[in-house]
Subunit: 620 residues, 2 copies
């Protein structure tokens, strides 16, 4: 079903150190992420579709087609984008599950596309909020209108469709192409010298250009990227940094302002740097990534400390209290890191992706796939109230996972990420295959010279650190395995023809280059044990505290296990593992009682009902 010349992956740069593999080449077959993919496909997509309908955001397109807007339009100015992210999620899910043309999923996909198509104007314009009598004029509200932002998500949906069902005749790609042409006409070098208040069209245009071989779209993306930092969006209460319109992209020192905007823009800039071989731009982005990760990123990988403007704070401003750490910012950070990984091959980017996947993205959805965290605090001081499963929650203010939000960017963002997750596991280059993330999976790709590399990955990761790669066929290639930065003492064993060779696997990456025989096993043994880590001394808010981690998972202390307010806990000893549980000796501050408190993986907090919780546990 796949076009074998282009991987069925969200990001396919023309050049770079690593080549992405598509959903046709990597499949997750179970385990931690496989379970989440199943719930996503079975429950979350249906839940989202139902909400898009009942909230009126999808019917907005019908009203547009009927010519009756603005009467009856519902939702915020960016509501259209959720339909596009939902389409993107469905497209990846169709590819992931290889759904048939007459499958329910495929038919639902086509019905939504039909409704979107009917709303498109003859000249390609597509937005339910602007351009009609009684609405604002097209492009008249770039600061907050989100018109280009919505189109960026349309483009990403079309790319997902094109790369998973290249021969589909539903028309989504044509819709996207006509809209992209309009954007180029309106905002090209001779058009409006302007940008959108929320970066996203850039990353959508760059990928659509790659997918369609349309250099004009890539050039337009580059234009938008370079137009940031000139203050053209005007001043707002939180400053121009909110839009990343304070400093040109290549002159910035760190990600700043609204954390989703910042990551989407940085992702697009990385795309532009790759397409234009712009090494200075790539270097600038890598420096910004370094500083952002060192000084502006929570231990969970979460980004953005401010509720008010959903923004990064200053360097070292990382209070666990009301950490915002928006789910979408985590996804944006993965998008940015993934592009830097493809460009450079450096393991640090995959390390952050792993940290963010396990501790931000996996935290958001409820176990049933029908409720979500919008923000991901690191310290819950009061037990929340369970969200009404039928209600829509104010953004980010629910203390427990909620079914939907007035601003509901996160649920479909999680859905599209889960559906396409296999694309982030492995890459290839001329010499071999690189495994970046560990999950039960199958990999099959063709290297230059027609070498077919195929293997299975078996693991209980992250519960256990043993990862066994079983080679399917005789072939010479280099298997590169990431050794996470926390995994000192890791080893790699090669089982071949009854012999076992063991070598140390220092953190970073380890290469196993050989002529493999069918049945050979490469076994990576990562030491997964609970460990305590101290904060960077410049982070004021967690001074005198520790965090417990186990493998890629950050642990949390919940009142459910502690039997008292988590705010009362003071750690008095090292974490131990007992009966498969991480247990921390803690003193109850007020009573003085010392207990062994079981910890939970942070992504599992608040799954057993309202609780107080803390990730950083004080020593005093």
């Amino acid at each position: 079903m796949f076009d074998t010349t282009t991987p069925a992956a969200p990001v396919v740069p023309t050049r770079g150190r690593l080549r992405p593999l598509g959903l046709d080449e990597v499949r997750i077959t179970g385990g931690f992420w496989g379970d989440r993919q199943t719930v996503n496909g079975q429950a979350t997509l249906t839940h989202i579709e139902s909400r898009l309908e009942s909230e009126g955001w999808l019917p907005n397109f019908d009203l547009a087609a009927a010519g009756t807007l603005p009467a009856g339009r519902r939702g915020r100015e960016f509501a259209d984008s959720e339909i596009y992210k939902f389409l993107e999620a469905m497209a990846w899910e169709i590819g992931r599950t290889d759904a048939a043309a007459d499958s329910d999923l495929e038919q639902r996909f086509r019905r939504v596309v039909d409704r979107v198509a009917a709303a498109q104007e003859p000249d390609g314009y597509l937005n339910t909020m602007f351009g009609r009598d009684g609405q604002g004029e097209r492009w008249s509200a770039l600061q907050w209108g989100h018109e280009l932002y919505c189109l960026g998500h349309l483009f990403q949906a079309a790319v997902a469709r094109m790369r998973t069902r290249p021969d589909a005749d539903d028309g989504l790609v044509d819709i996207a192409r006509r809209a992209a042409d309009l954007v180029c006409r309106e905002f090209g070098a001779d058009g409006r010298d302007a940008i959108c208040g929320h970066a996203e069209v850039e990353v959508g245009l760059a990928e659509l250009g790659r997918a369609l071989g349309e250099q004009r779209y890539v050039d337009q993306a580059a234009l938008f990227v370079e137009r940031h930092g000139r203050g053209s969006l005007g001043e707002i209460e939180w400053g121009r940094s909110y839009f990343q319109d304070d400093v040109p992209v290549r002159e910035a020192e760190a990600l700043r302002g609204h954390s989703v905007r910042a990551n989407y823009l940085s992702s697009a800039a990385a795309d532009v740097a790759a397409e234009t071989s712009d090494e200075p731009l790539l270097d600038a982005l890598r420096r910004q990534w370094d500083r952002t990760v060192e000084r502006r990123t929570y231990v969970t990988g979460g980004q953005g400390s401010h509720h008010q403007d959903e923004a990064f704070g200053d360097d070292w401003e990382l209070p666990p209290d009301r950490a915002y750490s928006e789910t979408c910012a985590g996804i944006g950070s993965i998008m940015f890191s993934w592009r830097l990984l493809l460009a450079t091959g450096e393991a640090q980017y995959a390390d952050l992706i792993e940290r963010t996947l396990f501790n931000v993205v996996a935290t958001s959805p409820g176990s049933d796939g029908r409720s979500f965290f919008y923000a991901n605090t690191l310290h819950q001081r009061t037990p929340g109230t369970p969200a009404d499963p039928d209600a829509t929650s104010p953004r980010a203010s629910s203390s427990l996972r909620a079914p939907w939000f007035e601003v509901s960017c996160c649920p479909p963002n999680v859905a599209r990420t889960f559906a396409s997750l296999a694309a982030y596991l492995a890459t290839a280059d001329d010499d071999g295959v690189q495994l970046h993330q560990y999950a039960p999976s199958t990999v099959r790709t063709i290297l230059p010279g027609g070498r077919v590399v195929a293997f299975d990955v078996a693991t209980d990761y992250p519960a256990d650190g043993d990862v066994r790669v079983t080679i399917a066929d005789d072939v010479e290639f280099t298997l590169t395995l990431r050794v996470p930065s926390w995994a000192s003492g890791a080893t790699v064993r090669v089982h071949s023809g009854g012999e076992v060779t063991e070598s140390p696997a220092p953190t970073g990456t380890v290469d196993v280059a050989r002529v493999f025989r069918a049945g050979d096993i490469v076994e990576l043994r990562l030491p997964i044990v609970a460990r305590a880590a101290a904060p960077h001394p410049m982070v004021d808010a967690v001074r005198g505290s520790i965090v417990i981690e186990r493998g890629p998972e950050v642990m949390a202390l919940e009142s459910t296990d502690f039997g008292a307010d988590a705010g009362e806990a003071v750690f008095v000893g090292d974490p131990i593992e007992r009966d498969g549980q991480v247990v921390l000796p803690v003193r109850h501050r007020s009573s003085g009682t010392v207990v062994d408190a079981p910890l939970v993986a942070y992504h599992d907090w608040a799954r057993r009902g309202p609780s107080t919780m803390r990730v950083w546990i004080p020593s005093m």
Copy 2:
């Protein structure tokens, strides 16, 4: 000039433990607060008047009178209130300086009153934002419209006028009376069962009722107070606690939600409790005050940790990073504490007033009285940019004092507080006079039985802890002196007829009861030395840090003195005083260099240009 039966003070309860003294009875004659009163009278009032004019907020009243609104109306929905706070400030200033009827100040006051009067509707309604063709209907937007809030400030202005110039014929009191009558008709027991989204009308009505002897107004205030907590304002993103509409006042456990609203409402509830001898309500307010001060108040006295909703956080949620600590919340806290002090006579309320005056209210205005902090952070991580002296700043986002804000509640709030400050220094009861705050001042009042108590206070407080009270005439009374909670080891000496008697003065209050002779001196010696204090262990954000205080002043480390980013400082020894400066041995975290860093009083930070600053200094 004063009506001697009612003190010229902002708050005059019908009953309570202590009787307030008015501006005719207490005068500040110099020193720390005297200097600020001078700058306030000479610069700040003119500055505010000029801005109210140039921003169009005062001209809005002219447009209302001309019948041309809504065209040309400028400012936010609460802009009218700033004119009323300005009138209140001028009224107190006229009283404080005993300005003549033909003085410039008096004439300016009357001109503003005339413009306000011309805008009042025949039925007493007064608001430039509502009620005309093209505007929202009266009382149709109680959640955010601020109509009643604005009137509350009008009432406080009228009270100030009435108590300082009871015979004035400018008409302000009539304007207020007609508006208050309208409010009682519209919102009385048989009227709309509703409240305003921002408490303030309650405290205004209660005092107007007291001043005019109109029990109806006090009853209406009580109605409004009791109507809080029923959710009648509806739900918003930040929850009903924002408006204190989540829980009835007498059932709440702590101040919560928007910190200015919370303090204004609590002040009104204290007024209602006093007027109705409602001991359960008073007890509830005292418990809420206790918990709020223990768990939700910064070491500066500042309240409100959230930028997003300008709100209190949870218990112990007091990050110095982006501490909001709005200037108006500090003033609101003083209003609330003052009412509890009058009701109970307990020194703890005067302690908090002192802490908040020196470390929040005194921090806000620039030395020239023409720039202000809106928020008062306890940790500045990046040096700010000096505000454009001609520009209007977004609310709370300027990192240095700014001349004016889009939401400019704070400057006129500071102005009215400074102009009336003498009323917060001393009180009386049947037996004597209580001195709560120490400043060079004169006090003269008449106790029951016609005993005239008069004395001068001489002090360099807070630079020095010696306070000398010189009695003017022979009289028997009890002089009660507050001994601040930090002043352990204080002593009191009585100099009389060549003899000196010294006694220890434990913290709280100390009574000196005797038959005084003219020229007797009561000398309070408060040990003012730099001291280090540890935070409450439940406050996570400052764990492992200390704060240096000296007398009532909180000290801060500024990069200006440290020679490096204040974020790099680690304290390595006790504070010492050298050449009149408090000096703290600190290590530069990165370089390891140890220096003796001079500290400044927190209220003086950022007066020498942009800097980084911290109040809590880490030990590790």
